[in-house]
Amino acid sequence: MRVFQMNGEARRAGVRDGMTAAQAAAAAPGLQIFRATEADAEAGAAALADVGYAFAPRVERDGDRIYFAVDDLGRLYQHETAIAQAVQAQAARIGFGARVAIASSRGAARVAARAHELAVVPADRGAARAFLASLPIALLTDDDELRAAFRRWGTRTAGAVAALPAQAVALRLGTAGAAVARLARAEDDEPFLPQPPPDALEEAVELEYPIAELDPLSFVLRGLVDRALERLASRSLACAELTLRLSLDPRGLDVRTIPIAAPTREAKPLIELARLDLARRPPGSPVVGLHVIALPARVRATQLDILRPSGPAPNRLAVTLARLAALVGPENVGAPTPVDSWREEAIAVKEYAPSPAAGDAAPPSQTELPLSLRRRRPPEEIEVLMGRDGPTALRGVETTARVLIAAGPYHLSGEWWQDAASGGSWAREYWDVHASDGAVYRLHRDARDGRFYLDGYYD
């Protein structure tokens, strides 16, 4: 276990990146060590950046700090203190106790934030210099050599450094010393290098022990999804697609994308969909790490019609379809659609999409309706007693009856152009028979093998 992040106090006590826990504890007695992974640190830094993206389109990430421009927020907030308080509240909402400072330069903002929980540095250079003057030198730079050099010169505060001649400081301490002196005079020119928000938002956790069961995995997933949604909500966005990257034990990755019907900020349907997907296709090995990638999207506003039915809510429908697929199999849920085939029994299932809200007027009531077949899939092989005019009796698993009237045969054949692998050609003799049990059955004799099959009954 090695140190990869520390606060200022620990740094001043001598703790450095890459130290082992034992070395760090020896360097700073009384040091509190927290166990965290790289994934935790990255997720935390990304979440902090999202605080900035809630206020500005572009944010600069710099370790555990973020910088963003607040010029345009004047229309929304009465004064700069209100902006700083809003930023602090936003950070608190996702669990960070953030220090916030507003200044006209990047460096002045950094120094002010290190000195105060909440600070607004005056825009005027003279006033800003006065604001910084009382702050200790340790806040201006983390470079121990520079601090020691300034201490040797008897300078303790930023004001004292600001009073030093700039040329002399640059001559003795180089560009780094000159930059500190400029910062003390509120004349720093550190460039602001913001980046646009990432395309996807990531949350990750590395587990201390492998998880093989679905319930504990769902529990871990819930925390990640909650955090991701909280971050998306802070940017007024919703989740349009969820990707799970599972690190498997001892090695390997399981990556799965969970499609979502409509962008959502609700955790419950997302977790339910992920859970159903994991239940349908369990990971091959126990999971030791979980990475959630949420694709952000704007929430679509839908104008409902007061006079027409709204239909199922997209998110609830997606969850319901996933549950139904888990219950009866995905191939058995969808919208029925005819197939371009001469085979009577052919039918396909396509993805279900509810009809658009606008509906026609109800069709006029009819007095006669077409009859359809209640079809057996696949056709059931039956025994048929043939007479001179056609079938006279039939016997199957659910049907044993005399034939009262037989209409047919109707010869149908087709698909002679298909090869055997695709089902090949077929030729059938169809009969509509009125049986003694009152039903009208449709049956056929396969011309290739002479066997009879029950297609179903008219209903």
Binding site: G311, P312, N332, P338, E345, S365, T367, S372, R374
Partner: protein, 229 residues
């Protein structure tokens, strides 16, 4: 809002009588067209909304055709519909469609999965009509399952139409129709199946809270279904 308050607000007694309080708009009541004029007359307007209805009859009694007609009517009105099909016996030629792009949600399942699937679909909300085709299933279905479905249908305002070979719902059905079919063959020359003549008899009709059924309503009606194959 009381009728006196409505009258005070609009001044016209005729308009005041037509004012419906917003709170009552959430009562998803009324009837939906069956798609067949004669059946609408038999049921006093159509299948009851927010309730279970039952359609029972032997093989070739026209149950599938009546379900199809109800689905077509609901789809044409722009409503989401579902067909829970025990055994997956839907014929491609019977696929209901209200417009070119509209189709019901079709769930092919086994007899044991039927009510569970129906429960999931109704609970999703937004479905105007859910048809549950039990086909020829004869196994016992516990009352608790029907009670649960009835509660869900009432909460969501969904019409649940259950089709079975014999009466299954008992007092859980707000409307129950019994069908008897007779095959019709053209006998001029070689026999040719032409369709079914169906007698529909009403065994139960209306919501529990509805007024007693109109005595002038016909006890049974005749329906004709033609074979187009």
């Amino acid at each position: 809002m009381s009728s006196a308050r409505a009258l005070e607000l609009v001044g016209d007694p005729e308009i005041a009588a037509r004012i419906v309080p917003l709170t009552r708009l959430s009562e998803k009541r009324g009837h939906r067209p069956t798609g067949l004029a004669a059946l609408d007359a038999l049921l006093g307007g159509g299948w009851p909304r927010g309730a279970l209805s039952e359609l029972c009859g032997a093989r070739s009694s026209g149950r599938t055709a009546i379900i199809r007609a109800a689905l077509v009517a609901a789809l044409a009105a722009g409503e989401a519909t579902a067909l829970i099909d025990a055994g997956g016996r839907l014929d491609a030629r019977a696929i209901p469609s209200g417009r070119t792009s509209a189709a019901p949600l079709w769930i092919r399942c086994t007899a044991d999965q039927t009510l569970k699937a129906a429960d999931l679909v109704i609970a999703a909300g937004g479905f105007g009509l859910v048809a549950v085709d039990l086909c020829d299933q004869t196994g016992r279905i516990p009352d608790a399952a029907w009670m649960r479905l009835r509660h869900a249908a009432r909460a969501q305002g969904t019409t649940v139409l259950v089709s079975a070979a014999r009466a299954r719902l008992g007092s859980f059905a707000a409307a129950a129709i019994e069908l008897t079919g007779t095959a019709a063959f053209l006998s001029d020359g070689p026999p040719l199946f032409s369709g079914l003549d169906v007698q529909a008899r009403c065994r139960r009709v209306g919501h529990e809270a509805d007024p007693p059924p109109d005595q002038s309503r016909p006890p049974c009606v005749s329906l004709a279904f033609t074979c187009r194959s």
